[in-house]
Subunit: 200 residues, 2 copies
């Protein structure tokens, strides 16, 4: 079975529709998905940006929010809530996701975080939000939060972010096939899946 | 009949597939296309950029060229030639296009310029290239080149570029429907056409 690496940041707007679309589309294509949460912050910083380009370039930002609204409507997702502040600080959910992905409930956790953020307008940097999402997924959210704050979990996210940078990621979502082909953007998901299946 | 404004810069890589796709897709959708050449340079400058973001941000640029190669291959366009230098200086073809669009041969001229640039690797800032493209389109290329260099033609392109900036354009290609909805990017062409036809 072909595999695709799905790199995303919980703070990233276009990672939201990609997250909501990828599981059924990949299943249909017969492609396994490896979820790879990472942090865009350090990568943006290396490009000289201290925040999202949507904030740095107002005309681009205006279009992006409007476009994302249209994309969500086309997918019949709930009306888009613009996170406040944007971007959200995604460190905590990213660390928790890595714990969950190793334990089997990570994919559902990822979808629920994006839903809380972009459909409900909740803050994903707050422990209360993350605990609430964890409650139905795992018997002991406190244990998970402690594991997410442990040195190995911190190191794992750091390594994952370094790998993203080494692989030439500059934004999210990004899809990378097993043969190393890189596709950037929610609108490239279908193309990335056909590449994963047949190459080219 | 609905109308869509197709804003493009001859220097812009993703304007190339959009230019090659738009006429048949719009005809199929029953949408009239208004061709709007403009210059991205002044708009990039206002954002603090002195060249294309593909040059300013190497990881983004690497992906863009590779992605554009894939897009051209998917459309069965000739293998992509990366313009040298990039971006090309698009002032001359933009002025000539405005003359041609008023005279009825402008759309074919636009397609031929993009083909010369991205399929043949020719310099579109050179008079010889533009004359060669004009030869089969108009009985007197010299007259056209003189008209393109006249003060009214220069003023027209300046106004068009100012209008682009006022409308919030920040890149190319951009599609704007009659009700003012803005779509950025070759990959938004289909969505812009459905909006032009039925709104939303």
């Amino acid at each position: 079975m072909s595999t695709i690496n799905f790199w995303f940041d919980f703070a990233s707007g276009y990672s939201y529709p990609a997250m909501m679309r990828i599981a059924p589309l990949a299943a249909q294509a017969g492609v396994a998905v490896r979820f790879r949460p990472f942090l865009l912050g350090p990568i943006f910083k290396a490009q000289g940006w201290d925040t999202s380009p949507f904030n740095l370039y107002p005309a681009k930002g205006r279009h992006a929010w409007r476009d994302l609204e249209r994309v969500c409507a086309d997918l019949a997702l709930p009306p888009l809530r613009r996170p406040e502040p944007f971007p959200q600080w995604s460190l905590l959910p990213a660390r928790v996701a890595l714990v969950g992905l190793a334990e089997g409930w990570g994919e559902e956790f990822c979808r629920l975080v994006f839903h809380a953020e972009f459909a409900e307008g909740r803050r994903i940097d707050e422990v209360a939000t993350i605990s609430g999402i964890l409650a139905p997924l795992t018997p002991d959210p406190e244990r998970v939060l402690a594991a997410a704050r442990s040195p190995p979990a911190k190191a794992k996210l750091r390594e994952q972010t370094q790998e993203a940078e080494q692989r030439g990621l500059f934004g999210a979502p990004t899809f990378i096939t097993a043969d190393g082909e890189l596709f950037w953007g929610n609108d490239r998901l279908e193309r990335a899946l056909t590449w994963a299946v047949r190459g080219r």
